[in-house]
């Protein structure tokens, strides 16, 4: 197992190199000059050129890529053009905010989505099931920024109960969490429902009932645990998405998180900050995927035995299996079972 984790961490390296290259190329060809933006309209061409020289923007493509990679290998993400602070420090002050929101959203979505999904599956075609399916569809199709604006209109403008923006105390988290989690709740509900529907028809669930097991235990210990793999996959995707996808909602609620940092960085063509943020997000995404894969092994002894067998040979097959699992989950989300 440990060897498996180590191997997975190693395979992250080429992925990160690839991502850093792509993001570098994208930045290189994006129109807009950071020097001009920094200095404003009143700057003379000489001033702009001096700053370009200082930032290393006058070098050729390969020279710039080389400098950038040299920094990366030393663990140096560079300095922000705007604040002149190390990129790493800027990210380190913003990431916890985004992570905290994403984490709360994930917990909230799991606590709501899984029970509703189970209920909906157990009472398939009932009134509760129909309501759940309608709301899940709404939750998935409704853009979260739109929901955010509606919430602000209702709770801040009309009722005046909740502050419309900022993040200065627990009460400030309510609306961001509600609006961001709508999609996650809907997706988790649908996945939990379709996965449970599949599992509760299985023979071993009937065996558990034939033993005289309590219905509650049948549902949770026998059915839900077996239905967990696709649900875990979707939770992982949602959580990672919450880290990276906070861009819009942080804008709406003026949350000082990584998403807002990135938007500001993009506006200013602040290349080092953009590249650094994307890389950090990519690392986080890979770590979340790894954690999900490890959780698979906790749930399912078949996967566990695959991990612990000769890691080297099994790895590609495993990757395929994991990919298939997440494809399946993604497909369920897209089709939403039989909604």
């Amino acid at each position: 197992m440990l060897r498996y984790i180590a191997k997975r961490l190693l395979t992250m390296i080429p992925v990160l190199i690839g991502i850093s290259f792509i993001i570098f190329v994208l930045m290189y060809f994006t129109p807009g000059d950071p020097a001009e933006m920094l200095l404003g309209d009143l700057a003379t061409p000489e001033q702009v050129d001096a700053l370009r020289e200082e930032l290393g923007l006058n070098d050729g493509f390969f020279q710039r890529y080389f400098n950038y990679m040299k920094g990366l290998l030393k663990g140096d993400l560079g300095k922000s053009y705007v604040s002149k602070m190390p990129v790493w420090d800027e990210i380190a002050t913003r990431l916890p905010v985004t992570a905290r929101v994403a984490f709360l959203v994930a917990i909230f979505a799991v606590l709501i989505g899984i029970p509703i999904g189970i209920l909906s599956a157990v009472r398939q075609y009932s009134f509760i099931d129909s309501i759940t399916r309608v709301f899940a569809l709404l939750g998935i199709t409704m853009p979260s920024f739109w929901l955010a604006l509606l919430l602000v209109l209702l709770f801040s403008v009309q009722l005046g109960w909740l502050p419309p923006s900022g993040l200065y105390g627990p009460i400030y988290y309510i609306m961001p969490i509600l609006s961001i989690s709508a999609v996650s709740i809907a997706t988790i509900t649908r996945t939990a429902r379709s996965s449970m529907l599949e599992v509760i028809r299985q023979d071993y669930v009937r065996t558990a009932r034939a033993k005289g097991q309590y219905e509650r235990v049948v549902l949770f210990r026998h059915a839900l645990l077996n239905a967990m793999i696709p649900i875990l996959t979707i939770i992982g995707i949602q959580f990672a998405g919450g880290l990276g996808g906070a861009v819009v909602n942080e804008q709406v609620f003026a949350i000082p998180g990584l998403g807002k940092l990135m938007v500001d960085a993009i506006k200013a063509r602040n290349y080092p900050l953009i590249q650094g943020s994307v890389l950090v997000l990519a690392v986080l995404q890979s770590v979340v995927n790894l954690v999900v894969d490890i959780l698979y092994a906790f749930v399912d002894p078949r996967i566990r035995s695959q991990y612990s067998r000769k890691v080297g040979k099994k790895a590609p097959k495993l990757a395929v299996a994991a990919a298939a699992a997440s494809d399946e989950a993604a497909a369920t989300t897209l089709e939403g079972g039989d909604i």
Binding site: Y125, Q202, D203, Y204, R206, T207, A208, R209, A210, K211, G212, Q213, Y214, H222, L225, N226, V299, D300, P301, R302, S305
Partner: protein, 330 residues
């Protein structure tokens, strides 16, 4: 007389109410099983055997299934009148069931030991350690070394899995075991071993058993009585000698002549022509009449009633009934 009857099913009907219509899976079934005996329930796929078994267990999937009439007397008490909790306490303890497919009947993410200990802990007041010890004994009893307790279903072969399923069924020493085609999914060689194991354990533990099968050979080997099921009805039932030597119902006769026999030299096996009718759309009259060699006019109009032939031999066929029912029609 009725004291030695462990299980008596009277007039049981179970229907599935689906969007396509009502599937009349079990219709007015009568069955009885004495203590210590084995009853064979024989019929083609779709005859309603599993549904009958699930009815006894109180596990008919609802929706779409529902018991629409009848009584299931177990030790004199009607199981259909029990509430959910009472029925749950019977399951696994007094009545247990071995399902058809061992490959899918075990929980893939629980160890074999835990799956056996689960039923023990539900019905006996034992500590976890004692339950595990007992689970190990039961596992040994079905011929699996206790060291394999901590393994998972994917590490077992089909035959070994079925042994574990049998161990789960036997763990609490039930009065009745329902075995639903316990060997259909297994290789022929393994089938014999599993059947051997079951009958050996049954005679050791004095358990009564309802074996569901479509193999008349299995019935001959291990049952004292047999009931033949067709389209949700018991068309013939009785002591095994009576059924095998004094076969009455044309469907039962058909079943025997479609079997390769060792004693009588038959040149060609004679399959019963046609298919069993769809239980959602049963023909009028006797449901077997479209396939029956001896079909009479009344058979297309009137469903026959049970006719007793003495010594517990029952048949449901107009050939043997008093035809006064036909006069009612006129």
């Amino acid at each position: 007389m009725s004291d030695d009857k462990l299980l008596e099913i009277k007039d049981l009907s179970i229907h599935y109410f689906t969007e396509e219509g009502i599937v009349r899976a079990v219709n007015n079934v009568q069955l009885s099983l004495r203590r210590g005996e084995t009853l064979g329930l024989v019929g083609e796929t779709g005859a309603g055997k599993t549904t009958t078994a699930l009815g006894i267990m109180g596990l008919v999937p609802d929706p779409p299934g529902r018991v629409v009439s009848g009584e299931i007397l177990f030790g004199g008490r009607d199981l259909l009148r029990l509430n959910k909790g009472q029925m749950r306490r019977h399951r696994g303890k007094d009545i247990s069931m071995i399902f058809q497919d061992p490959m899918t009947s075990l929980n893939p993410i629980m160890t074999m030991g835990d799956q056996i200990a689960e039923v023990i802990r539900l019905h006996e007041k034992l500590s976890r350690a004692d339950a595990n010890r007992k689970a190990a004994q039961v596992l040994e009893m079905v011929g699996i070394p206790a060291q394999r307790m901590n393994e998972y279903p994917h590490q077992f072969s089909g035959g070994m899995k079925q042994r574990v399923v049998i161990a789960i069924a036997l763990a609490c020493n039930p009065q009745l075991i329902i075995a639903d085609e316990p060997t259909t999914a297994l290789d022929v060689t393994i089938q014999a071993q599993v059947l051997e194991l079951m009958s050996q354990l049954q005679s050791e533990l004095h358990t009564s058993m309802l074996i569901i099968t479509h193999d008349l050979g299995v019935v001959a080997d291990s049952c004292q009585s047999v009931a033949i099921m067709y389209a949700g009805r018991i068309v013939e039932s009785g002591r095994i000698e009576d059924i095998y030597e004094d076969t009455k119902h044309p469907y039962t006769k058909g079943l025997f002549s479609s079997l390769p026999s060792l004693s009588t030299k038959v040149k060609r096996l004679k399959p019963i022509l046609g298919l069993m009718p769809d239980p959602a759309n049963l023909p009028a009259g006797c449901p077997f009449h479209p396939r029956c060699d001896s079909c009479m006019p009344i058979c297309t109009e009137l469903d026959p009633q049970d006719t007793g032939l003495g010594n517990g031999h029952m048949v449901r066929c107009h050939l043997y009934g008093q035809h006064d029912a036909g006069e009612d029609l006129a």
